[in-house]
Structures are given as structure tokens and as C-alpha cells.
């Protein structure tokens, strides 16, 4: 991982702001490597045996992050696509120098293996929550790509299931393990910005649509593409290649676009997640308003506002977030840079500038937590809260009006319409 140590001045981005950069700060670790037995060679007893579920484009990247870790032994992959099964097996076997990576069409066969400790879930978003909970009940820890859930109900059940099964769950919200985002959140969380007034998230699209039922096409052989398994928990529809390769298939509770968009969930599961961290992972906002002038404003119980906005960002790369308090503010983005209202906020800290949102540190955090049984940064409860905020915002967008959410009952207050959108039945035989 390249480490930038460029020192640059406050006027780099804004006249009144300071950019933070500094000398190398080692990647976040929980305990020293030697204490974990990670000095180079790792004895087999200390290795974490991992299987993959649905390793496509994003999953391939994640897989690379896993394979970089000395204490990972990747042994199996499940995919509904025959071609991908072969491709992933080749990558894994080439890496390990053997031919031991087993391939499966049905991911439950991976979960049945008692030698596997953890799974990487990188299917489409349709499957994330269901596969994660099935894995937890099978006794596996998991790194699960985002968006993690399709609706509010799934978010709540996910957190409950991970707690009840005592499994380690890491959502693919890798920005939680990048120094500048972590520092920005820390400033907000620890009161360095004064009383927090506003947190801003970039949703990158606020369209609310639904996945569809496209023109039937000839269904491939089950061994080539297992369409039934692809649909999984989603309501039945005939085979269509566009849905098969649709990145956003069934993302966001069945009312997000089949081809593009993703409501506030696609990026919100990152940006809102960071905002949630900034507010100390408290319960999600209690009020969500209709979009006005390109912004959607939500409000936490304590009055802090969560604002989804498309414009007005300092150019710091994708996935920007901004936290404003009564005495200061900070903004950060995927360039690895951040801008502060005052250089004093740095307080002597050196914050490493890591752009390009790599997941390596997040994967490492997960693997450490598999060993320590600590809660990782993107744990299930944190993911649950962030996803509820996104789903509720999507519902406000869909209804085009204010909705109020009661965190005690996990329902919308006096709002039958919104409450009906909290959950969606799963296709048989799947359940949570």
C-alpha cells in the first residue's frame, strides 16, 4: 500500500481550511502482530480458513485483499455461475500453489464444511443479508459486501442474529478503516468540533425505483447459471440476462432500480455509515423529510441533522462526508484528504493520506476480530443503524413526504404506508 507523507498547506482546498497529512502511521491494528503470531510464517493452527460466496468483480477485489494476508487459507468458492467458479478457483489455486480450492454451485455446501471458519460474501445485494444470516447460523464469521440489507426489517434481524449467534460480522464499509475518515469521525464523536449540529452524506443519486420483471429469455442450464439460486430470496421472475448481470438487482427493498441508481443506499451505505460513526453509532435518525432543493434532511433524537446532498462538496473525491459542530467542521473524501476548519483540530496528530478507499485494512480488521472476537469497525449493529437510516430516507423519497421513525418500536409513527415498506417477504424456502 503506497503511503503518502506529503505535507501540504491549508490553502490547498479552501482559503480557511487546513489539509491534514503526515508521516506514516501504521495501518490500524488491534494488537501487535507478534502477539497474534503473525510474524511472517503462520502455523496452520493460527490460519483462518475462508470460503467465498459469489465472487464477481467487487468480490474479486476483496478476494485479493484476503489473499494478501498471511494467515488466510482460501479453500472454496460458491457461485451460481460456472464460469466464475472456474475463474476464482484459478486465482486462488495460483496464489496458494495447489489445486485445493473447491467449487460449489450452492453456497450452503460451503457452509456445511466444518473446516471453514469464515466466508467472504460478495454476491449481489439481493443475497447479502440472507446469505449472511444463513452463514451465521451455520457457525461462520463473515465479511459481507454492502449494501448489507434490503430493508429495515432485515437490518434489525441481521444485528440480532449476529449477536445471538456470537458471530463476527464485518460489513464491506471499508472506509471505517481508513485513517482520514476515522480521524474525521473521531473529531465529531469526541466533541472536538463542539456540539455536533450537522453531518452530511453524499448519496450519489436519490432516485427510488424498483427492480423489474423483464422479457423472458431462454434460461441457461442450471450448471452454467443457476437462475433459481440467483433469485434466491427475491420474488420469482423469468430469466433475463440483464437482471442476471444487473449490479443493482433487488437493491434496496425491492424498490430500487434494476439498471441504475440505488436510491441513497448504494453510496449511503458508505457515507451514511460514516455519519453514523461520527454520531457515535447512535440509533438512526427519528425524522426524515421530503427532498427539498436537492437535499434530504433527517434529524436525530438529539437534534443533530443528517443531510443527504448532491452538491456543495469540497472536491475531495467520491464518497465525501462533512461533519459540522458548533466550533468547527471537517470534510473528507476518497482522495484520502480531509479539510479542517482549523489546524488546531489536528492536535499534533499525523493522519496518513490513503486515497482510493482500499479494503485491505478493513479485511485485516475483520481477520483480527475473528481471532480476538472483538466487534469489527463495520459490525452488524453499526451496519444495521446506518442501513436503517438509508432505508428510511429511501422511504421518505418514495413517499415524497416526511416520515418519523420510532427507535423504541422500530416502526414509523402513525404511518401505515411507511410501515408496509419496512420489510418484504422472501421467496421460499428462504427465511431470516
Amino acid at each position: 500500500m503506497p503511503k503518502k507523507t506529503t505535507q501540504y498547506s491549508r490553502r490547498r482546498f479552501l482559503k480557511s481550511a487546513v489539509s491534514a497529512a503526515g508521516a506514516a502511521v501504521v495501518a490500524p491494528t488491534i494488537i501487535p502482530g507478534s502477539a497474534m503470531g503473525l510474524n511472517g510464517a503462520v502455523p496452520p493452527s493460527e490460519r483462518i480458513v475462508v470460503g467465498g460466496i459469489g465472487i464477481g468483480r467487487r468480490g474479486g477485489y476483496d478476494l485479493g485483499c484476503f489473499l494478501q494476508q498471511n494467515d488466510v487459507q482460501f479453500v472454496a468458492v460458491a457461485d451460481i455461475k460456472q464460469k466464475r467458479r472456474g475463474e476464482v478457483k484459478k486465482i486462488v489455486d495460483d496464489h496458494h500453489g495447489n489445486e485445493n480450492c473447491d467449487t460449489y454451485r450452492d453456497f450452503r455446501e460451503v457452509l456445511d464444511r466444518t473446516d471453514i471458519d469464515a466466508v467472504l460474501i460478495a454476491t449481489g445485494p439481493n443475497w447479502h443479508a440472507t446469505a449472511a444470516m444463513t452463514a451465521a447460523k451455520a457457525g461462520k464469521d463473515m465479511y459481507c459486501e454492502k449494501p448489507v440489507t434490503k430493508n429495515i426489517s432485515q437490518s434489525l434481524i441481521l444485528a440480532d442474529t449476529m449477536r445471538r449467534t456470537s458471530r463476527v460480522f464485518q460489513a464491506g464499509t471499508q472506509r471505517r478503516n481508513l485513517p482520514h475518515f476515522a480521524f474525521a469521525c473521531e473529531l465529531a464523536r469526541t466533541g472536538k468540533l463542539g456540539k455536533l449540529t450537522k453531518v452530511y452524506a453524499h448519496p450519489a443519486g436519490m432516485q427510488a425505483m424498483m427492480s423489474g420483471w423483464l422479457v423472458p429469455e431462454e434460461q441457461p442450464d442450471k450448471d452454467v447459471v443457476d437462475w433459481d439460486m440467483y433469485l434466491g430470496p427475491a420474488a420469482w421472475r423469468p430469466f433475463n440476462k440483464k437482471l442476471l448481470d444487473g449490479f443493482n438487482f433487488e437493491k434496496g427493498g425491492g424498490f430500487v432500480g434494476a439498471f441504475r441508481g440505488g436510491g441513497v443506499l448504494e453510496w449511503g451505505s458508505h457515507c451514511v455509515d460514516l455519519c453514523q460513526w461520527a454520531v457515535d453509532d447512535c440509533l438512526p435518525p427519528v425524522e426524515y423529510n421530503a427532498r427539498k432543493d436537492g437535499e434530504l434532511m433527517a434529524r436525530y433524537e438529539n437534534g443533530t441533522q443528517l443531510i443527504f446532498r448532491e452538491k456543495g462538496w469540497i472536491p475531495l473525491g467520491s464518497c465525501p462526508v462533512r461533519f459540522e459542530g458548533e466550533t468547527g467542521w471537517v470534510e473528507a473524501g476518497d482522495s484520502g484528504k480531509m479539510v479542517l476548519s482549523s489546524p488546531e483540530l489536528l492536535a499534533g496528530r499525523e493522519v496518513e493520506e490513503i486515497g482510493g478507499y482500499p479494503a485491505t485494512f478493513h479485511v485485516r480488521d475483520f481477520l483480527d476480530c475473528v481471532k480476538t472476537r472483538r466487534q469489527p469497525k463495520g459490525n452488524a449493529q453499526a451496519a444495521c443503524n446506518a442501513h436503517i437510516a438509508c432505508h428510511a430516507a429511501n422511504i421518505a423519497l418514495l413517499l415524497d413526504r416526511q416520515v418519523k421513525f420510532d427507535n423504541a418500536t422500530n416502526t414509523f409513527t402513525d404511518d401505515a404506508a411507511a410501515n408496509r415498506l419496512r420489510s418484504e417477504a422472501l421467496r421460499e424456502p428462504w427465511r431470516l
Binding site: Q7, R10, P32, G254, T372, R431
Partner: protein
């Protein structure tokens, strides 16, 4: 809403269906409208509409449906393609009608459809379904029985709990895991309600049953937590077991333990554990910062196996306080480099209000490595101790002086900035110059009052040596602001060639729009030609990279054209205009077409701008005529429109529309309309054209509906 019977892409219909749920639908006044919508959707279900339409109607009824829709939805439960769609609505429609329908269906269905229906009963937590589910618990289909078990777990009333506990021993092995899951769900519910005794009994039932290991783990966790203080012996037992999964469970469970009852027992668990396990138990202890036994962690940091000490030192970073300072200092200057490094990291962050005060208190009497470490800590912890640190600047050891300078860089206030300025202007020891400059920079860029800071640096510039002037100018450049800019501008026009060079270089890299007039002035009046060019290039760079109103950008480009004497800079300006297309910029580029040396680049720029503007407000024919492109020989070789494999050959259409201009005007602004249909609905498409102009081959692609201006082949 009426859904047309034609099936094309139902995604659109779905979107429309949901988006009809407008603000008015929330109001009671619109109840009638909702009822009307429900009627329309029910009518679709009753019609011979295609399956797709019925599926989408089900989704609509999840939003608009009432008990009136239930019978029609229930009829679909036996339809393998529509059952899941129907349950989407049935699961959320309030009232008993849905419950009744699901129960009734469960009596007649079997296989997967029955499993789905039972799952929905579980989601609705229907207490009336217990008798049905009790029967299904012993269904010969293990999937059905398992679904029934979990559904009863979700319902979780007395009857369900009783049936599940009985089922643990009675059901076939294949179903036992689900029964255990149901039992655990019931126990959780009881635990939450405060009935911990019965909850613990249920957990024990599962622990003692012949069920998969994961269920045992879940039950063990529950059994410990439900018993609270009385669960501690079982927890401690897990710390001793050889079973890795159970040990890991203990590590997770201890972090969940309510109150402080468990904490006093954990040091003993550390002592009895192997070093590998002690490392992990200490981390778990530190994850309970409110109740952690700090002396025990400190003791583990002081002595014992190295890996345990490392873990404890790391833990102190989160849970330590002033009482740990002396121990950590001792380790940090100790012989073991790994332990020392870990201690240093912890010391930099060691919590506790008194820690910083104690660090300063130790400075006057400390010596050697400890003295150096304390100086480093002053900087890392940003402790205000300038007077004490300043004393170290006279130390005979360079590394101590460096540590002091770095600490001052991190801590001095504006009032005390002169301490560092004087070290830069006249270091007590020349070997300290580089560190002093870096420290001054570190201090300067973090000053909240940057104008005040720049004033001090500017004042220092007056009395500095030539070597220091460059350093001060660079720091001023990093500080930024009006005073810094003004100082650099003056330096750039001074009589000193070194200052001219330094200042013009730094101004050229200045990242603020305010620098524009300074650079323009320098481009005209700098003391040497090379600095004029440098300033002009900097000015063009500002026009290129900063956000500003387009009118302002074009004015800047015009200013630059007025000053530029070389085609190199003029071409750079055309690039700026191309990048930020605007009608004003187009006029400027068109004007530049009149300059012979610039004509090819200016023409390309003008065409590119016109293309970006989509022809709006542009007389394309006049523009092309001005460029001498009004009589070209255009041949369309091949043209395709679409996305991926879905391509449509539009060569004939384009050939028909081609003229003697490198511009093709279609019949409609919509490509789909002009080309007779959408070759890839819902997907972003492109138009790709292979062509020849005056015999030279070219190829270009256009975003959907873009103006077709063909670039002149080179």
C-alpha cells in the same frame, strides 16, 4: 392505476406504481383514492393479464391493499411463480384476513410453497397458528417441519415454547437444528421480558440436546448471560476448555456481560491461561473500559511472557491512566525494542487528565533516553511546555535539540513563534537548521491566525540571510492568505534574482484564485522574460483548474491572450476553453481561428466546444464556414447505435443526412426517434461512426442524443 397488458420492461411500471404513492396518499382525505387503486390492482389479479402484470399488482397491493385484496392474493399462494409475490402483500396487509388466509393455505399446500407460507406466518407472529405449526413440526418433509419450528420461535408464546422444548428430543435429527433455533428465539424473548430462570432452562435444554455445534454455542452464550452473576462459573470454565469455539465464545460473551460482576474474575483467567489465550483475554478485558481491573492489566504489562506484555501495553492505550506512566516510561526506554515501541505508542495516547502535567513535571530532572522521550511526548500530546522545552535547545546532544525543536513545532503558539523563527534565522548550531525549518513550517501551517503568522514570517524575511529567505518564502507559501500572497508578489519583483526565482515559482503553484491578478501583473512586468512566461503559465493554470463563473474564466483567457506572445501558451489557453465549454469561450476560440499559427488548434477547440454545448446558441454552419469547413467531402463508412451486443446499424440513416459539413443534423434530437427505435432499453447507449473527411479516415463516438460534430481527422 391501470397497468397495460403489454409486457416490455416492467421495471418502469413498477417505478410508476410505487411513485404514485404521493404525499396526498398519506392524508386521510385520500383514502378513497387508495381504495380505488386497490380495486384496479385486484382487477388485474382477476383478469387474464400476463403473470408479470399480476406480480407487479401484488407488489402494489403490498402498499395499497387491504383485507379486500386478501382472497385474490391467497389464490396465488399455490402458484409457483406468483406465490412469493402474493406473500409480499400478505405479509404486510394488516388485519386477521391475511393471517386466516395464510393458515388456510398452509393446510392445503405442500413442499416449497408450504415452506414459504409458514415462513410468512412466522414473520406475522400469528399466535392462532400454533396448533397448525405443532402439526407441521412433525411433517415428514424436514423443510416444512424446520420452517414450522422457526415460525414458532418467532411467535414465542407459551404454547410455542412448550411445543418446541418437547420437540427437541422428539423430532428427527434433520429438524433438530431448527427446533433448537426456535427454542433459542423463545428463550431470548423470555430473557428480554425478565423471565431469566425459564430462559436459562431452555438454553440448558438446547445445550444438552443432540444438535449442531453452533446451536450449542448460541445456547451456551444465552445460558451464561441469562444467569448473570451465576453464569460466571460457566464462562470461566470456557476459558479453560480445550474447545477453541467455546473459548472464542467466552471472549465474545465476556464483552457483552452486563455490569461489573464478571471483571474481578478475569485477571485469574489471564493467569491460568496459556500466553496465546492470555493475550486475547486481556484484549477482552480492555473492551470493558468502565469496569476493567486496571492494576491487573498494568501488572501484565510489566512482567510475564512478551506477547502478553505487548497485549497489555496495547490495552493500556485504551484503558490506562496516570498510574501507568512510570511503568510505561520504563518500558519505553528499556532494552527490548518491540516492547519499547509499543510503550511509546501507548504513551502518546495514554488517557488521563494528569498524564500531560506529569510529563512536564518530569522534564527538568530527566536525563538521557527518558529526557528525549519526554520531549517527544510533549510534541505528540501537544503539551504547552514551551519554556521547559526551550531549555533543551541548548543541549549538547543534537538529537535532544532536534526532539525539542520538533516538540516546539507541534506546540508553540503564535505568541511564541519567534522562538522557532530565531532558530531558523540564526540557529545556535548549524546542524539544527533543517529540523528548525521543518518545525517552523509545522507550527506555521497549524496557526489559526494565519494572517498574524504570515505577518511574523514576512517581518522575519526582512532580516534573514539569503539561505533563510527561500525557506521563509516556502513556509509563507504553505501558510497562504493575503499577507503571504502580498509578500511573495513583492519578492517576485524585487531586485534579488534568487527571490525572483523563488517567489515566481511559488506563485505559479499557488492554489487559490486570489493569485490571478498577481500572476497577470507578473506576466506583464516581471523583471525577466522567463519569469513572465512562468507567471503566464501559472495564470493559465488558475483559469484551468479553479471553479469560477464562465464569464470570469473567459475574461482571464482573453487577458492571457492579450499578454501571450508565444503559440505554446496560446494553445494552452485553447485547451482551457475546450475543457470549460461556454458560448463566450466559443467566441474567443472562433476569434483565434483568425490567427494563422493557431488555426488548426483553434478550429478543433471551437468544434469541441460547439459539440459540448450541443449546438445550443451556436450557428454551426457559420462556425464551420468560418473555419473553412463548409465544403468538405464527408463519407460515412459505418455507423452503429446501441450498447454492448445490442447494436443497430444506422449507416444508411447517417449517409442520408450527411452533407458537405462535418456536422450531421438528425430528424429529431432523440437518437431513438431518429434511428427508428431503442436498441437497448434502459441501458446507456452510444453512437459510433467511422467516416472519411476529404479522404482522411476518422472514428468518433457520441453519447446518446449528443450533437454530431465529426472531428477533423488528423
Amino acid at each position: 392505476m391501470y397497468i397495460t397488458p403489454k409486457i416490455t420492461c416492467s421495471a418502469v411500471l413498477l417505478a410508476a406504481l410505487v411513485l404514485t404513492f404521493t404525499p396526498s396518499a398519506h392524508a386521510v382525505d385520500d383514502a378513497n383514492a387508495a381504495a380505488e387503486k386497490e380495486k384496479e390492482l385486484i382487477a388485474v389479479l382477476r383478469s387474464d393479464a400476463p403473470t408479470a402484470e399480476k406480480a407487479i399488482a401484488c407488489k402494489g397491493l403490498a402498499i395499497h391493499g387491504s383485507s379486500n385484496a386478501v382472497p385474490d392474493l391467497a389464490r396465488l399462494l399455490k402458484n409457483p411463480q406468483l406465490s412469493s409475490w402474493a406473500r409480499i402483500a400478505l405479509e404486510v396487509i394488516p388485519g386477521e384476513a391475511s393471517d386466516d388466509a395464510l393458515r388456510k393455505a398452509a393446510d392445503s399446500l405442500n413442499g416449497l410453497l408450504l415452506v414459504g407460507t409458514i415462513n410468512s406466518i412466522g414473520v406475522r407472529e400469528d399466535p392462532e397458528a400454533i396448533d397448525l405449526l405443532k402439526r407441521k413440526l412433525y411433517d415428514t418433509d424436514a423443510e416444512v417441519a424446520s420452517a414450522a419450528a422457526v415460525a414458532m420461535g418467532h411467535i414465542g408464546n407459551d404454547a410455542a415454547t412448550k411445543a418446541l422444548r418437547a420437540g427437541l428430543a422428539a423430532v428427527p435429527a434433520k429438524v433438530r437444528s431448527a427446533v433448537a433455533e426456535g427454542c433459542i428465539l423463545c428463550a431470548e424473548r423470555l430473557h428480554k421480558k425478565g423471565d431469566t430462570v425459564v430462559a436459562a432452562e431452555i438454553y440448558d435444554d438446547v445445550r444438552n440436546a443432540d444438535v449442531p455445534k453452533q446451536r450449542i454455542l448460541e445456547a451456551t452464550r444465552g445460558a451464561i448471560l441469562a444467569r448473570n452473576q451465576n453464569g460466571i462459573p460457566l464462562l470461566l470454565e470456557l476459558f479453560q476448555t480445550n474447545d477453541k469455539a467455546m473459548f472464542q465464545l467466552a471472549l465474545g460473551t465476556v464483552r457483552e456481560y452486563p455490569g461489573n460482576t464478571v471483571d474481578p474474575f478475569l485477571p485469574e483467567a489471564v493467569t491460568r491461561a496459556t500466553p496465546e489465550r492470555a493475550v486475547l483475554i486481556i484484549q477482552a478485558m480492555a473492551d470493558r473500559p468502565k469496569y476493567v481491573d486496571l492494576p491487573a492489566v498494568l501488572k501484565a504489562a510489566e512482567q510475564g511472557p512478551k506477547q502478553v506484555r505487548l497485549s497489555a501495553i496495547d490495552a493500556l492505550r485504551r484503558v490506562g491512566d496516570g498510574s501507568c506512566l512510570s511503568t510505561l516510561l520504563e518500558i519505553a526506554v528499556g532494552a527490548d525494542p518491540e516492547l519499547a515501541q509499543a510503550a511509546k505508542v501507548t504513551l502518546a495516547d495514554l488517557p488521563g487528565q494528569n498524564v500531560s502535567r506529569e510529563v512536564v513535571g518530569l522534564l527538568p530532572t530527566s536525563k538521557g533516553k527518558t529526557h528525549m522521550l519526554l520531549l517527544q511526548l510533549v510534541g505528540q500530546r501537544r503539551i504547552n511546555a514551551v519554556e521547559e522545552v526551550e531549555k533543551a535547545l541548548a543541549h549538547r546532544d543534537k538529537s535532544v535539540r532536534s526532539a525539542a525543536l520538533i516538540a516546539l513545532g507541534e506546540t508553540v503558539s503564535l505568541k511564541k513563534l519567534d522562538v522557532l523563527i530565531s532558530q531558523v534565522l540564526a540557529p545556535r548550531n548549524s546542524a539544527d537548521a533543517t529540523v528548525a525549518r521543518q518545525a517552523l513550517k509545522t507550527a506555521s501551517v497549524r496557526m489559526p491566525d494565519r494572517e498574524g503568522c504570515a505577518a511574523k514570517l514576512a517581518s522575519a524575511l526582512q532580516r534573514s540571510s539569503p539561505g533563510s529567505k527561500t525557506a521563509l518564502l516556502e513556509i509563507l507559501s504553505d501558510v497562504g492568505g493575503k499577507k503571504a500572497l502580498q509578500t511573495l508578489a513583492t519578492a517576485a519583483k524585487s531586485k534579488d534574482p534568487q527571490l525572483q526565482d523563488d517567489a515566481s515559482r511559488l506563485l505559479g503553484k499557488w492554489n487559490d484564485l486570489d493569485v490571478a491578478p498577481v500572476l497577470l501583473d507578473l506576466a506583464k512586468t516581471a523583471p525577466a522574460e522567463k519569469y513572465k512566461i512562468r507567471a503566464l503559465r501559472g495564470y493559465i493554470g488558475v483559469a484551468r483548474k479553479f471553479a469560477m463563473p464562465e464569464q470570469q474564466r473567459v475574461e482571464m483567457c482573453q487577458n492571457a491572450f492579450n499578454v501571450a506572445t508565444r503559440t505554446d501558451e496560446q494553445k494552452l489557453l485553447l485547451d482551457v476553453l475546450k475543457l470549460h465549454a461556454s458560448p463566450q469561450g466559443l467566441r474567443l476560440a472562433t476569434k483565434a481561428m483568425g490567427t494563422r499559427a493557431l488555426k488548426p488548434e483553434a478550429t478543433q477547440a471551437a468544434l469541441a466546444i460547439a459539440q459540448k454545448l450541443g449546438g445550443k446558441g451556436v450557428n454551426m454552419k457559420q462556425l464551420l464556414s468560418g473555419a473553412g469547413l463548409n465544403n468538405v467531402k464527408l463519407e460515412i463508412i459505418k455507423a452503429e447505435y446501441g450498447a454492448g451486443a445490442a447494436q443497430k446499424d444506422v449507416t444508411a440513416v447517417l449517409r442520408k443526412r450527411a452533407s458537405n459539413l462535418p456536422l450531421i443534423t438528425l430528424a429529431s434530437t432523440s437518437y431513438n426517434t431518429s434511428f427508428g427505435g431503442d436498441p437497448a432499453p434502459g441501458v446507456i447507449k452510444k453512437l459510433r461512426i467511422q467516416y472519411r473527411i476529404n479522404g482522411k479516415a476518422g472514428e468518433s463516438s457520441f453519447a446518446e442524443n449528443a450533437l454530431i460534430v465529426l472531428p477533423m481527422p488528423q
